[in-house]
Each structure stands twice: as C-alpha cells, then as structure tokens.
C-alpha cells in the first residue's frame, strides 16, 4: 500500500519556503507546498515576505570601506608596482 503524505499545515509549510524559492525542493515537497499555498493566503503572504527579503538583500547596500583602509591598500598597490 502506498502511504500518501499528509497535507501540510502552515507551521510545516514555512520550513519549506526558502528551498522552494531557490528551486531546491523535491518534486513531492514542491507539490505539497503549492497545494497548501493555493488554499492559504497567510502562507502566500509569508512566501511574499521572504521573496521581498531576498530581493532586498541582492540590492546594493551602503559601502563601508573607510578612506584609511582604502589608502593602506592603494599603498600596497604602489609598492607592488614599484617592485615589478
């Protein structure tokens, strides 16, 4: 007898979202999650929150390299070129 997986509840669904958005779920888990999402606005909103979080992470943030650190490395470059 084939044992069918039980339907997901929200508390289980949230643990599949990150892999789902990366395309890393097994076909079985993807189907289970998509079936759940089709009937659950709350989890669909959760997926959207994670999606926005990932999108925002990939957008360029502030660059925090200090002028002193940059000068130290520029000096390294000059010395390297002088020795060449």
């Amino acid at each position: 007898m084939r044992i069918l997986p039980h339907a997901l509840v929200c508390q289980e669904a949230v643990d599949l979202v990150s892999d789902y958005l990366d395309g890393a779920l097994s076909r079985r888990d993807r189907r289970r999650l998509e079936k759940h999402l089709a009937n659950c606005d709350a989890c669909t909103a959760y997926v959207e929150q994670i999606r926005v979080t990932i999108a925002a992470s990939g957008m360029v943030g502030p660059n925090d390299l200090s002028p002193e650190a940059l000068e130290t490395l520029a000096d390294l470059f000059r010395r390297f070129n002088d020795e060449k």
Partner: protein, 222 residues
C-alpha cells in the same frame, strides 16, 4: 610601450559608462589593473574589501587577523591577476584565494565554525500558530515597502542592517548567497560545508531577517 588607439577608446567608453552611473565590469577593471591603473585597483578594492574581511572573519579569531588575510589576498591577486583566465567569475576566484589563506591562518588559530542544524522556523514562530498548526494571525505582505514593483531604499537599508546583526555563520551564508549572488554550490565549496547545510543555514538567516523586518514595519506603523 605606448597605449594603442584601442586603449583610448576603451578609457573613453568606461568613462561614459561611469558618468551614466553604470557599473564597470570586473573584467574591464582587471584589464586596467594589469596596465597599472591605480584607480581600477581602488575600485575593485572598494567593491570587495568588506566582503573579504567578513568572510575571512569566519576562519580567524580577530578583525585584525581577518584584515591581514584580506591584505594577503590582494597581494596574491596583484601577483596572479595576469594568469586569471576568467573560467570562473573574478569574485569566485578572489574568494577562493581568500578562503585558502584564511583556512591556513584559521587552522593555526584552531577555530571551528559553529553550525546548528536542528533549528526550525515553524518551532521558532510557534506562538504564531494554533494547536492545529495554522496561523493565528496572517503575516502582512511588505507592500508598503514596494514602489512600482521595486523594493524601496529604506527597506534595502533595513535588510542589510539586519544581515549584519545575524550570527556569523548565517551572516556569511546570506551574504554570499543573497547579497553577492553566489550559487549554493559555490557557497558550500567556499565555506567547506555541505549544500544541505548551506540551505538550512540560509533558511534560518532569511527567516530571522524577515522576522526583524516584520517587527520593524509593524512597529513603525502609526
């Protein structure tokens, strides 16, 4: 050796791109770097130095040690850039050099990456669910932070601020995967952990950032 006319065109082209706010490709900067252009080196350093220090910090015990490893990496880049064949991206090549050095230094300092794989978002948010495992109160999409389909600047800043606050392993994985856009395979190889571990850590990091944003946005609603 005097620069060829093609070089003149190249410089003109890169200036035009910069003027219009476009990002100059790493490969263009590397070509200029090999030619001894200090500004190209400064730009590449500005692009990657903080990433290098952050990743090195996973292997060594102090910020100073991480900065030394990053500096050694730049010396290796200057020595080896002419042999870089572009089979991988410059970023991947750079990070491999860094991680090799950081590992050597790190093993001298005998540091082990702490990884907890037992974590679950469902358990972390358990108070948000009823006995049946369904949301007591549905999450609210971050629509107020989206303008014309694009995430707005305050949310981008908030997300980066929260990534910086993550515990170090999650910070590294989220930084490499989501901020820097490396693949799960590349992240696993760089950090010398399995892809399954990368995915678990990534899931946890993203979940923590999401929670922090949700709290901030809801707290910020007047």
């Amino acid at each position: 050796m005097s620069p060829s006319p093609a070089w003149g065109m190249f410089h003109l082209f890169s200036n035009v791109r910069r003027r219009y706010g476009g990002r100059v490709d790493d490969s263009e900067l590397l070509t200029r770097l090999i030619d001894g252009d200090e500004r190209a080196f400064a730009e590449i350093v500005t692009r990657y130095q903080s990433l290098l220090v952050r990743v090195a910090r996973l292997y060594v015990k102090s910020d100073a040690s991480a900065e030394d490893v990053a500096q050694d990496t730049w010396i290796a880049v200057l020595k080896g850039v002419e042999r870089f064949e572009g089979r991988s991206s410059f970023k991947t090549w750079l990070l491999h050099i860094l991680v090799n050095r950081a590992r050597t230094t790190g093993s001298k300092e005998s540091r082990v990456l702490p990884i907890d794989l037992t974590w679950s978002e469902g358990s972390a948010l358990s108070k948000r669910f009823d006995e049946g495992g369904f949301w007591r109160e549905a999450p609210v999409p971050f629509t107020e932070a989206i303008e014309n389909g694009i995430v707005n600047a305050p949310l981008v800043a908030l997300v980066h601020e929260q990534i910086e606050k993550l515990p170090e392993v999650q910070r590294a994985v989220v930084t490499l995967r989501d901020v820097e856009g490396l693949s799960t395979t590349e992240v696993a190889s760089l950090l010398d952990i399995t892809e399954v571990n990368v995915r678990v850590i990534l899931h946890r990091g993203r979940s923590l950032v999401r929670s922090a944003i949700e709290t901030t946005l809801q707290g910020g609603v007047s």
